[in-house]
């Protein structure tokens, strides 16, 4: 049996995912998420003890790069894509200093 979601749980998830929800959205999303949770609950029927989890589906060899600096982009071109930039910095609303 899948976990029964509550509005509080949905809000906690939304906070962790940094997505604002209106009260109405929270209710409809709760229903949709619950349906999906019920749907994926079938996995509980599968015995998985002792089975290794898969991260990549195919065998991949590790590849590492040499420690050689390379510069292909200039700062102004990159910062031009930021909604707010100033004096070579990216600017964001004030964060409380810590």
């Amino acid at each position: 049996m899948a976990e029964r979601l509550t509005e509080e749980t949905v809000q906690k998830i939304a906070d962790a995912a940094a997505i604002a929800l209106t009260d109405e959205e929270r209710q409809t999303i709760l229903k949709e998420l619950q349906e999906i949770l019920d749907f994926v609950d079938v996995l509980r029927a599968v015995p998985v003890d002792g089975v290794e989890p898969t991260v990549h589906p195919v065998p991949l060899a590790i590849f590492m790069r040499e420690d050689e600096p390379e510069r292909r982009h200039d700062r102004e071109a990159l910062l031009a894509r930021a909604p707010e930039a100033e004096g070579g910095f990216i600017r964001v609303p004030r964060v409380l200093g810590d």
Binding site: E3, V10, I13, A14, D15, A16, A17, A18, I19, A20, L21, I29, E32, L33, E35, I36, L37, F39, V40, D41, V42, L43, R44, V46, V48, V51, E52, P53, T54, V55, H56, P57, V58, P59, L60, I62, F63, M64, R65, R72, H73, A77, L78, R81, A82, P83, E84, I90, V92, P93, R94, V95
Partner: protein, 489 residues
């Protein structure tokens, strides 16, 4: 006009020969495509962005290249569409999302570099489900692409724009991505060939990540031969994607036509249940065709396929929640908030920048990775992924290919499943296993439903057996005529 019409039905190898001799100029072929696009695009809406002028400059440069007597690439002068979650420098890349409206990628994706190195002409960026999340291309923030075979049907997704552009003869081939069926399902719905190579065969660099361990770049074209030619130009390791794989031992296209006699084909019994009757019938017929070609077709039991969709849902949502966390309106893209409070700025930007389906998946993905659920749900799904891989391994110990339908139904009506996510996810149930196991798989036209909607046959090979998959699909296509029918547009 008439001449253009003829060009549209010509295949890439023939066009490539005529372009090489100079009998046909890249500019002329491009104009044929642009004229076709002008004629049908308002009804199909395959593209998010078109740049005819850039394409014309490119075609002219290619003409010049030939005049200089330089060697010409495998895709010399052939117009293509690129799914809009793949970077093409000079064109915006939105991934179908408001979040990236107007975003100009600073570099070409590796697959784009390789297309251009093969002398391709890119005409525009194809529509897709937002961040490739969906099976109908309806979650795009920009437009709704229609199925060229029926104006009220979805083209499938998420590479629906790519598939529709090829099926509507707007371009000769298109690049797509497939994380759970996003190339094969729309190929099936639009009556074309959709090839998803082995995971890692085509580097992901420059491709907006949805679910990193599933995302696979692939090709949509009208025939298997054309798909193989394009694949040959694109695959192989690149040092910027350390999850990419080495090149195939030899180019695949020249090996097409190899005998498939004696090939052992397994058909999972689970893939033949719960199908639309026409899909069932076309699949049975297709399997008989394979037998007629000398293949040995046998049913097999793969006990974990029934869990593929659930495992796929959990794993891709978890990866998506993580991959999409970077979209916060600070360094690039759009900021949808004037909040002076940082947390509010994040939450509002992401609430307005993401569409409903993306939010659904990001929220659930966050849930699956959260403390207390991670082991129980996410890790369990990773283990089921292992079991599904083992099912395939067992089958491939005795068989060369796994076959079945691509999708349980023909193309469904527009907006039918938008508000029914579970039904939408289930349309991936026959395609997602190949992504869970990283296997090469192709969807090839296998006839039509009673309503005249295309139906696809899916062939899946073992890891790195990309060539075998295409060889078998080619043999099947050579024995059938389905791919010759074209939508009445």
């Amino acid at each position: 006009m008439a001449a253009y019409g003829d060009l549209l039905e010509e295949r890439i190898p023939d066009l490539r020969r005529r372009l090489e001799t100079g009998e046909l100029a890249p500019e002329a072929l491009l104009e044929a495509a642009l004229e076709r696009i002008a004629a049908v695009e308002d009804r199909i809406e395959s593209f998010i962005a078109l740049d005819p002028d850039a394409a014309r400059r490119r075609a002219a440069a290619l003409s010049e290249k030939r005049r200089r007597g330089e060697a010409l690439g495998a895709l010399y002068g052939i117009p293509a569409a690129v799914k809009d979650n793949i970077a093409v420098a000079g064109l915006p890349m939105t991934a179908g999302s408001r979040m990236l409206e107007g975003f100009l990628p600073p570099d070409d994706a590796v697959v784009t570099e390789r297309l251009l190195a093969a002398d391709a002409v890119i005409v525009g960026k194809a529509n897709l489900d937002e961040f490739a999340m969906g099976g109908s291309t309806e979650t795009s923030a920009y437009r709704t692409t229609k199925n060229p075979w029926h104006p009220d049907r979805v083209p499938g997704g998420s590479s629906g724009g790519s598939a529709a552009a090829v099926a509507a003869r707007e371009v000769w081939y298109a690049i797509g991505t497939d994380s759970g069926g996003s190339i094969r399902q729309p190929a099936s719905f639009t009556g074309i060939v959709g090839f998803k190579p082995t995971y890692g065969r085509i580097p992901r660099t420059g491709v907006v990540a949805f679910a990193s361990s599933f995302d696979t770049v692939g090709v949509l074209a009208r025939t298997v031969e054309e798909a193989a030619i394009v694949y040959d130009a694109l695959h192989g390791f690149h040092p910027s994607d350390t999850t990419s794989l080495p090149r195939d031992r030899e180019p695949v296209a020249p090996t097409l036509g190899r005998d498939v006699r004696g090939l052992k084909v397994a058909v999972p019994t689970f893939w033949l249940v719960g199908l639309h009757p026409d899909v069932r019938a076309r699949t049975e017929e297709a399997l008989r065709v394979l037998e007629g070609l000398g293949a040995i077709v046998e049913p097999v039991d793969m006990p974990h396929l029934a869990y593929a969709e659930a495992a796929y849902t959990i794993l891709t949502m978890g990866e998506a929640a993580s991959n999409l966390a970077r979209f916060d309106g600070l360094r690039y893209g759009r900021r949808f908030s004037d909040a002076r409070d940082l947390a509010a700025l994040y939450a509002e930007t992401r609430a307005r920048g993401f569409g409903r389906e993306v939010k659904r998946r990001v929220l659930l993905g966050t849930y699956f990775l959260s403390a207390g659920r991670y082991e129980d749900m996410y890790v369990r799904a990773q283990k089921v992924r292992t079991l599904i891989r083992r099912d395939f391994e067992r089958v491939f110990a005795d068989y060369d290919l796994v076959a079945g339908p691509t999708v349980p139904t023909p193309a469904f009506p527009l907006s039918e499943r938008l508000s029914d996510p579970v039904a939408m996810y289930q349309s991936d149930r026959l395609t997602s296993p190949a992504n869970l196991a990283g296997l090469p798989a192709v969807s090839v036209p296998a006839g039509f439903s009673a309503e005249g909607l295309p139906i696809g046959l899916q062939l899946v090979g073992d890891v790195a057996e990309d060539a075998l998959v295409l060889q078998a699909a080619y043999a099947y296509q050579a024995a059938t005529e389905h791919h010759r029918r074209r939508p009445a547009l």
